[in-house]
Symmetry: C2
Subunit: 437 residues, 2 copies
């Protein structure tokens, strides 16, 4: 087992507790590193990954061979592979994180009380963050780099098919950091050394040491983690996003936004799955948007009113359209398929989105400010747009510089999570001997 610290004779419970305690210890040490030290570590890590590219690809080959033997699909094998480009983008990512401002120590609030006590609310690291992810080994470097910059220790649990890759990436990173910064603790980045599935609930029961878990992957993985965790989890299950075309929409703009949000990259969580159309504009809008969607190869699952607004004989080159079923309203296709529905107005659109949506990203297209305000206030999603594509919900598009995920939770971070979203806060009280009378 990794670096000889774990004995085969230890139980799974003992192993996980050992890892969690070491993580907590390392997180304490991280709080006293300066911004310069953290950046120095990140740059050394990036250089080491470039330098040890061959060794990393060698370990990755072991995973690929084992994966082929296990019969992994070619899609999974593709995600698993660390090509030259992917190794380079890991080190490039670390250099970018080094160049971003330190999210720790920001002054969030300040007040001086009548007794002279000065209170400051300042951002702090969260502590120990467990990241659970699937087959992409580049997440190891990306997540650990973001956590280091935000002062958090990480415990990484990747897919078992990527264990060799994940271990050498983490080892390369911590050794490089230690070499340039002796105060850096080797346990600031740990890879769970066992591929036993039972390790996850054991690890996530250790709430005395672990402060947060972020699962990244499919809905099944995330539900399983949320179900067993005793530590806070920040997650998003899926992205069922909507565009609502209002009666006061600029219909050309509306069609462009809907088509972009569906087709620009259909496989991602901020692509839309459902298009809602105000009844008053259906005759004008539906034939127009349908043709544009078909031209992009999109299959439509439409309610009756939507289909009735189409005269198929008048369409240039008809594509696929089928009646929508109940299941279509909460489906996350991640594909060139869209559900469509005619609604009676903004209130029905809001109700539909709050009922079937996943609280991720939703857009209203309208020229009516009051309608937009109502939609933006009442739609209960992480990001709500007025006349823009849902595809902007993304750390880079939000100017965060880097992203560790997108949260649809409401406690802690919501929406794209960059460095600031990996922090907590504390209150500092500066006194001159104040006591409570």
């Amino acid at each position: 087992m990794k670096n000889g610290l774990y004995h085969e004779s230890m139980t799974l419970e003992e192993q996980m507790k050992e890892i969690a305690q070491r993580g907590k210890q390392a997180s304490r040490a991280l709080t006293s590193l300066s911004t310069e030290q953290k950046n120095q570590c990140l740059l050394a890590m990036a250089d080491a990954i470039d330098l040890k590219k061959a060794a990393i690809q060698e370990e990755n080959k072991k995973d690929l061979i084992a994966g082929r033997e296990m019969g992994l699909s070619s899609a999974l094998l593709d995600r698993l592979e660390l090509t030259e480009n992917r190794v380079a983008s890991m080190s490039q990512g670390l250099r970018e994180v080094a160049s971003l401002p330190d999210p720790v120590g920001r002054l969030l609030d300040e007040r001086i009380r009548p007794n002279g006590l000065k209170l400051q609310k300042v951002s702090t690291p969260i502590g120990v963050v467990v990241i659970i992810y699937e087959s992409r080994p580049n997440v190891t470097a990306d997540a650990a780099g973001l956590c280091l910059k935000s002062g958090n220790a990480t415990i990484l649990r990747g897919g078992k098919e990527a264990i060799h890759s994940n271990q050498i990436i983490a080892k390369t990173m911590v050794e490089a950091a230690k070499a340039v910064c002796p105060e850096f603790s080797l346990e600031a980045i740990q890879v769970v050394p066992t591929t036993d599935r039972k390790a996850i609930p054991v690890l996530l029961s250790l709430s005395d040491y672990i402060d947060l878990c972020m699962p990244r992957g499919g809905e099944g993985l995330i539900r399983a983690v949320a179900e067993c965790s005793r530590v806070p989890v920040i997650k998003h299950y899926k992205g069922v996003c909507h565009v609502y075309v209002d009666r006061d929409a600029d219909l050309e703009q509306a069609a462009a936004i809907a088509v972009n949000a569906k087709t620009q990259r259909p496989g991602v969580c901020n692509a839309i799955e459902t298009l809602l159309v105000d009844d008053s504009v259906k005759a004008d809008f539906i034939p127009r948007v349908t043709q544009m969607l078909w031209d992009k190869g999109v299959e439509i699952r439409a309610d009756d009113a939507f289909r009735e607004a189409l005269d198929l004989s008048k369409m240039n080159s008809p594509g696929k359209i089928e009646p929508a079923t109940q299941e279509d309203w909460d489906a996350e296709y991640l594909d060139l398929i869209i559900a469509t529905k005619v609604v009676s107005g903004v209130s029905e659109a809001i109700d539909h989105i709050n009922r079937y949506g996943s609280g991720h990203s939703d857009t209203v297209v309208t020229t009516n400010e009051q309608t937009a305000k109502k939609f933006m206030t009442e739609v209960d999603s992480a990001a709500v747009y007025w006349n823009a594509s849902t595809r902007f919900t993304d750390g880079a598009e939000f100017g965060m510089g880097a992203e560790i995920g997108i949260s649809t939770d409401k406690i802690g971070a919501r929406g794209p999570m960059g460095l600031e979203e990996l922090t907590s806060y504390k209150w500092l009280g500066f006194g001159q001997g104040q006591i409570r009378p």
Copy 2:
């Protein structure tokens, strides 16, 4: 059962789902109430509580009679009783909440992206908040009022011994609000209508409808809730707070702070339980603080070095002092008892606090800015003070106007929780037709 909406034939699961769904529906309606409407509701609730005082005390009497029959302790019966003063302070609390600024709709961040898309991060209600508490029925009005002002629907689950009191308080509140504001939903404040203990895990499994749970009470209750919950929980288990007297402390100030933090109100979570003394000042400081603690009737549990620094024959009026055991370091006495220990300096003090403390409130007394900075950075607690009593960790003392609890968690709110801490946020994107290229 309450208002005839629950049938005896419904299972516990069906009942809880019904409550949770109604809560979610009510929370949607709350988002469109204006600040003025919310304040109008709060003031009407306050007036109604004053007006219906006799009826509320009548229902409270039922609980008191049943409580005496169940053999509740006199301390519990005292907490349960709604005296004239307590009823008045419920209505007064609601009026105060009405006078505070609306925590929803605050602009937390704003950025305009190169493509012209304007992004605003604004505070929003959390949604549906479950409050689980023990015998004090006044929590019903306090918690529901704070949640209403922050736009959240509440599901209240008080102690079974207070069910009649809790139900009439909630009923009085919602009916008064509905009378002045027809858009107010009666289900914005619900009391769980059954006293069945199994209702709690069932309710807290409904993460599709419930956004947050806040348990308030003893450690046992809070652990049980955290253990079974599938929704995020914000909590604090206990308050094991410390004062550390550094080698560079003003010893007179240090003694005053330690004695205040221990004795000003020993039964609360922000009172200290442990005093740590730097070895270099033990000869001067220990006899002085010991006499002051004894004068206040405090019993001391001291490590060897602390006891050896005392010459009992030279003390004026010796009080109780005993050797500390391992259990003393994480004990929450909530009483006139203090654990004391000599440490080798600020690093050992920080280690001790991070190991045994509860992450609540801790103080360093020193004139050395560098020592203070180290302590404030490295102690991982919600509130860290320099030369001030830990007793200031409190919503009113922090200028929050009202407090629903104190969190020792690091995801979501940390430290005293006022109205702002009962909000989440969302991102609003204002576009002019922007799409992703």
